[in-house]
Symmetry: C2
Subunit: 345 residues, 2 copies
DNA sequence: TCACTTTACGCAACCGATTAACAAAATAAC
DNA sequence: GTTATTTTGTTAATCGGTTGCGTAAAGTGA
C-alpha cells in the first residue's frame, strides 16, 4: 500500500508522457503554441491520473488568489448574512471564493483578522467595521498595502480612500417620520441606540429634521437611546409609560426594539397602531411574522452585498475606480403604522 | 514615485542586513539555532520594512493552508449561520480561517464548489449536503483524495467513511410528542415536509412511535406533509379546519410552520395552547419573539458547529479518528404547549 | 595545544505551478 | 538546395517561503 499517494502534478503528467512540464502547463491552459494532438494527449493523461491543479501554487505564481475576504460583526444577524449572500452570489458568478470572518464587534479581533487577511490570502476585502467605528487606522494600513477595500453599512467613508456602499440612514429616518406625519401623527418619539454611533445618529437626524420641518417642537424625553434589541425596546417603552406622557407614534431605529415596544404596549392594554403607531428599521424577517406586522425601512441588504462585490471585482479586474454608493432606503408600510389619526381622534 | 512598491519579503530583509534568507526565516520563527542578538536585529528590520509573511508561499511549501471549507445550503438561515458561528468560534481559537460556500440546495453548484475546494484551497471540509441528499459520489471523491470531511445535520453517514455531527431527529420528535402526551393531549397531529427527506422522516417516526407506544391509533389525515414554511403551516391548518376534525395538539417539524398554524388558529378564534397546543422544531429565534412563545426542539446549532470543527481540527492536527456524534435534542417548553389538558377539559 | 562538542548561520533543494527566451524541427519561399 | 518563417517544445528562472545538511567559529575539557 502506498504510504502517501501524492497528488499528481503537471510533472507527473510530463514524466508519464516523456515531455516537459511547461508543455503540459500550456496544453492545459489551451495555449496556442501547443499542437492539438498533444493537447488531446495531455488532457487525456491528466484525466487518467485524476490531475487537479494546485491552486496554492497558481496563487503564488500569479500573485492572485481569486478569493475576497468579507468581514462582518456577526454572521448570525439577518442583515449581515443577507449582505454576505449578495456578495457570495456575485462572487460565484465571477468564480471567486469568499472568506468570511466575524469581528464580533471586537476591535482586537478585528485587528487580528485584518492582519491575517492582509498576508496574501485575499485579493480584496469587503468590511463592515466593528463598533466603536471611529478608529480606522487598521484599514488605512490596508490601503497602504494597496489591498482594495470596500466598506458597507458602517464606517465613516470620508476618512480614507476606499469604496463604500451604504443605505442613506438620514433619508430613511426622515421618510419613516414623514410617513407617520402624513398619517396625522404629531407627537412622534424616537427609540434608538447611542447617538455616537454613526448609523444611530443619522437616523436620529432624519427623525429630528422631519419633525422640525413640520414645525413640531421636540422635547428631550422624546428620544431614548438605550439600545435597539427587544429588551431595550420594552425598557424604553416602560420608561415612557411610567412617565405617562404618551406619543402618537414611535420611530424605532431597529426592528427588535420596535417588537419589544409593541409587546410592552399590548401588555399594557394599548393598541398598535390605533393608540400608538410604530415604524422600525431594517426590514427584518420577523416584521412579517408577528402580529401586527411591523412597518420598517428596508436596507436592501442583498443588493448592498452584490453592489459591494461588483465594485470590488471591477476594481480588481479592470482597475475601475472605487466609488461611494448610497442606496435609497425604501419604506415598507405594514400594519403597525397603517392608521390615519386624522379620522379617528 | 515607485511604480509598484513590491511587498517586502524575507530576501529584502536578508539583503538589507547582509545575511541569508534562511537565517531570516528561522529568526522569524524563533528557531533555537539563531542567536538572540540576531533575532532582535532581524525582527527590528522586519518591522521597519513592514514585513508581512506571504501565507500563500507558506501554504505551498508546507502543504497546509490553515483554512477549512464550510459548505451549507444557505447561509441566510438561522440554523446554518449558527452552525457556522460555532465553526468560526473554534477556528478562530485555533487560528484557522473559514471559507464559506453556499450550495443553494443545488447539486450542480455543490459539485462545482467541492471541486474547487478540493484543489488545495482548504485542509478539510465541513458540509451539510444539498437536497436531494442521496447522491454522495462527489463526497466519495474527496475521501479518495484524502481530504478530511465532516458532515453535519443532513447526510446519510453510513454511506462513506467520514465524521458527522447531527441531532437525533427521531428522539426529538419522540420527546416533543411525549411532552404533549404528558400534558394530557391524546389526538396529536403532525405537520411536516416530504417524508422522503431524512430529517422529516425521522421526526415523523419519533411522532408515530410516541403515539403508538401510548396505544393511540393514528389516522391518515393526522399527518400533513406540505412543507415547513409559514404559509404551508397555514395551509395545512386550514385543511384540517375545513375538515372539522380538530386535534388536541400539533407537533410541527419546523418552527415557521408552527407559527403559521398559530396565526391561522387565532384568526379562526381558537386559542393556543388552551384549545390546541403546539410544539415546533429548531428553536428559531422567533419562538421567543412571538406571542404565544413557541415550544420547540433545540438543535444546539452552535454546539453542532463547534463540535464538527473540533473533530476536523483534531483529525488534521493529530490524525485523530473521525467519529459520528449524535447530539441529544433538548425540548424548550414555552407558552404554546404549556397547558394541562387533564385539568380543564 | 589538540580533539570534540555546541552554537550559529549559509547553501541549495523544494513546494507546483507560470512564462520569457531560446532552440529544434517542419514548412514555405526563392 | 539553401535560407527564411512558422510551428512546437524545452530550459530555466521565478513566486516567497521552509528545511536538511554542511561547516566555520566559539566553547569545553584534558
Amino acid at each position: 500500500m502506498t504510504e502517501k499517494s501524492k497528488k499528481t502534478s503537471i510533472y507527473d503528467i510530463a514524466k508519464a508522457l516523456g515531455i516537459s512540464a511547461s508543455t503540459v502547463s500550456r496544453a492545459l491552459q489551451n495555449h496556442t503554441s501547443i499542437s492539438d494532438s498533444r493537447k488531446e494527449l495531455i488532457r487525456e493523461k491528466a484525466k487518467e491520473l485524476n490531475y487537479r491543479p494546485n491552486l496554492v501554487a497558481v496563487n503564488l505564481k500569479t500573485g492572485k488568489t481569486r478569493t475576497i475576504g468579507v468581514l462582518v460583526p456577526n454572521i448570525n444577524r439577518f442583515f449581515f448574512s443577507s449582505v454576505i449572500e449578495g456578495v457570495e452570489d456575485e462572487a460565484y458568478r465571477r468564480n471567486y471564493d469568499v472568506l468570511i470572518c466575524q469581528s464580533k464587534d471586537n476591535k482586537d479581533r478585528e485587528e487580528k483578522i485584518l492582519s491575517n487577511l492582509s498576508q496574501g490570502k485575499v485579493d480584496g476585502i469587503i468590511a463592515s467595521v466593528a463598533y466603536p467605528d471611529n478608529n480606522l487606522s487598521m484599514y488605512e494600513e490596508l490601503v497602504d498595502m494597496e489591498i482594495p477595500l470596500v466598506f458597507f453599512d458602517r464606517a465613516s467613508v470620508d476618512a480614507i480612500q476606499v469604496g463604500s456602499v451604504r443605505v442613506d440612514d438620514y433619508k430613511g429616518g426622515y421618510s419613516a417620520v414623514k410617513h407617520l406625519l402624513l398619517q396625522g401623527n404629531k407627537k412622534i418619539f424616537h427609540f434608538s441606540g447611542p447617538l455616537e454611533v454613526t448609523v444611530w445618529r443619522n437616523r436620529y437626524r432624519g427623525w429630528r429634521d422631519a419633525l422640525e420641518d413640520e414645525g413640531i417642537e421636540i422635547q428631550d424625553h422624546w428620544v431614548q437611546t438605550e439600545s435597539t434589541d427587544k429588551e431595550s425596546g420594552r425598557k424604553m417603552m416602560r420608561a415612557i409609560l411610567e412617565r405617562g406622557d404618551l406619543p402618537d407614534a414611535i420611530f424605532c431605529a431597529g426592528d427588535y426594539a420596535a417588537l419589544g415596544v409593541i409587546q410592552e404596549l399590548r401588555e399594557n392594554g394599548l393598541r398598535v397602531p390605533e393608540d400608538i403607531a410604530i415604524v422600525g428599521f431594517a426590514n427584518e424577517p420577523i416584521d412579517e411574522m408577528v402580529r401586527p406586522t411591523i412597518s420598517s425601512i428596508c436596507q436592501s441588504s442583498f443588493r448592498m452585498g452584490s453592489l459591494a462585490a461588483k465594485m470590488l471585482f471591477d476594481n480588481l479586474e479592470t482597475k475601475e475606480a472605487m466609488v461611494n454608493i448610497t442606496i435609497a432606503p425604501e419604506l415598507k408600510v405594514r400594519e403597525s403604522s397603517f392608521f390615519d389619526r386624522r379620522v379617528k381622534k
